[in-house]
């Protein structure tokens, strides 16, 4: 408590330097938070897009040409014909045709369903909003007029298989459900793969061999604590953090740290005598604590300002990407860097001080 009072008194003595270091670090933190918000938002999109495809299935059999996330359609789209497989006894599965089509100038992901009555199209709520259609209206897909039904939260339109085939051909994938009772077994992919002659992987970053027959993505097996959806979304967020954005924000954070260290070093040079007195009466350790507390106050203030600034900035500049959840996730990730930065930022100047004898500190002008 005494240390906090001491630190506050020092901040009051040089308020402009405190404000400047908080401002510098806050700007750096705002940069990182913005990037992390974008990355969290993209990760949420990635997880949603794969959940939308799997719909609870244990295995996802993709074509040799692979699948990709179509940013315009905001959904996963198949790049080739679904592998020709015959489901072993007991397994259930659906061959889903998938492709991207243009509808009213908007790119839309189209999927097929065998269980749908003819003449209907089921749209996810966000897609219906994007296209501006209501329940019961009719839309034309592949020359056929379909009645719109709205269900679920996906970005895809589901139409009867015949309609889908007329528009996107045979492009698509399989979603496969294990025999009842076996859903939780970890060797599902191996068993199924052996039966249909396809390789399998629990890692979504593996792409199918273009010359092969296809690939089975295993959503229940694999080692490690992450679910398939989490691994899939990590692929998405990794793209953001390793992009230009990620690089620039990391440099910004580095500069913020330099500002913190430089302002602490300035404080050290100005207050050598004060610290000389402290260490000559045996309070050398307190000098360290003192700097740690001051550094913690600076970084905590900068964090609050930076995260708030990032929230305002994302709301104004990238309203389409940022959601409050993504912002909170971004803020949480940024908070992980802070303690290390605050501690190292305080240790550098203290290390400099403690290398000198109290007498030479007291001799300072």
């Amino acid at each position: 408590m005494c240390l906090v009072r001491f630190a506050l008194a020092n901040i009051r003595r040089r308020p402009e330097r405190f404000i400047l270091s908080v401002l510098g670090i806050a700007l750096a933190i705002a940069c990182v938070t913005i990037v992390r918000t974008i990355s969290a938002s993209v990760a949420i999109t990635g997880a949603d897009s794969v959940t939308d495809v799997l719909n609870g299935a244990q295995l996802w059999v993709v074509p040799a040409a692979g699948v990709h996330y179509d940013p315009a359609a905001q959904a996963l789209v198949a790049d080739g014909q679904a592998p020709r497989i015959a489901l072993p006894d007991g397994w259930t599965g659906t061959r889903v045709l998938s492709g991207a089509i243009e509808l009213d100038g908007q790119s839309v992901s189209l999927r097929s369903s065998d269980q749908m009555p003819g003449g209907e199209a089921i749209l996810g709520l966000p897609l219906a909003d994007r296209l501006g259609v209501d329940d019961g209206e009719s839309i034309t897909v592949g020359g056929q007029s379909l009645r719109v039904g709205i269900s679920g939260g996906g970005q895809s339109m589901t139409v009867p298989t015949a309609v889908a085939r007329s528009v996107v051909g045979d492009s698509g994938w399989w979603v496969v459900f294990a025999p009842p009772g076996d859903e939780q077994r970890r060797d599902l992919a191996q068993t199924f793969g052996a039966a249909v002659g396809l390789p399998s992987t629990p890692d979504p970053s593996v792409t199918p061999d273009p010359g092969g027959a296809g690939l089975i993505y295993d959503t229940v097996g694999g080692s490690g604590p992450l679910t398939f959806e989490q691994k899939f979304s990590a692929l998405f967020s990794g793209k953001v953090t390793s992009s230009t954005l990620g690089l620039i924000s990391t440099i910004g954070l580095g500069l913020g740290f330099i500002i913190a260290v430089s302002s602490f070093l300035a404080a050290v040079t100005e207050r050598r005598r004060e610290f000389g007195i402290m260490s000559s009466v045996g309070l050398a350790d307190e000098v360290l604590y003192f700097f740690l507390v001051e550094s913690a106050i600076v970084f905590a203030a900068a964090y609050v300002v930076g995260v708030a600034a990032a929230g305002i900035a994302v709301a104004l500049v990238i309203p389409g990407i940022a959601t409050p959840t993504a912002w909170l996730q971004g803020a949480a990730v940024t908070a992980m860097f802070l303690p290390a930065m605050a501690i190292v930022g305080a240790l550098v100047p203290v290390h400099r001080l403690l290398q000198e004898r109290p007498v030479s500190l007291l001799e300072a002008r």
């Binding site: 401002l23 913005i34 910004g252 500002i259 430089s262 990238i318």
Partner: protein, 188 residues
Amino acid sequence: MISKGLAYGFLSARRRMREMVLPVVTTATGAFLVVLVFGMSAGISAQSASLGHAEELNRAVVLIAVTVLLVGVVEVAVATTRTVAHRTRELGVLSANGVPRGPVVAALLVEPVVAAVLGSVLGATLAAITGTVLAAMGFVATGLSYGGMAAGVVIAVGVSIVAAVATSIVPTWTAASRSPIRSLTAGG
């Protein structure tokens, strides 16, 4: 009188070149990024398009690059607070001799402006060289926009100077407004 203040500021800025190295480097880093981001905007757009929301992500890249430049410039202001603290007695002598506040503030602002200009020009030059070399070696598939780079240079230099003056003015004003007797008896 202001011009005399500026001349005095230049003389002392020349003497204190070593202290200006860190702010120049941080500003240069920010300016380097801004110029490169503007010059390679086509490549960045292509990268953003693969993630969706291309337009918004482009805006975010520019926002972040300019913010990083501001972070670099804040170091200039931190260096100014250091300078002011070092020169408290000198400021006391000036005001005791009847020098008004205006020229003193002008003299103190020369250093941050010089640091901001040096830093941003250095960063912009490095960015232009890096961009040209990368483009010549074929690393920039989407090409380099020289118009964009020029815009980046103008923004980098302009933002650096304005931000350096805006952040340095308060500490210099406070220091120049102190009564001479307080400045002269200060420890610094």
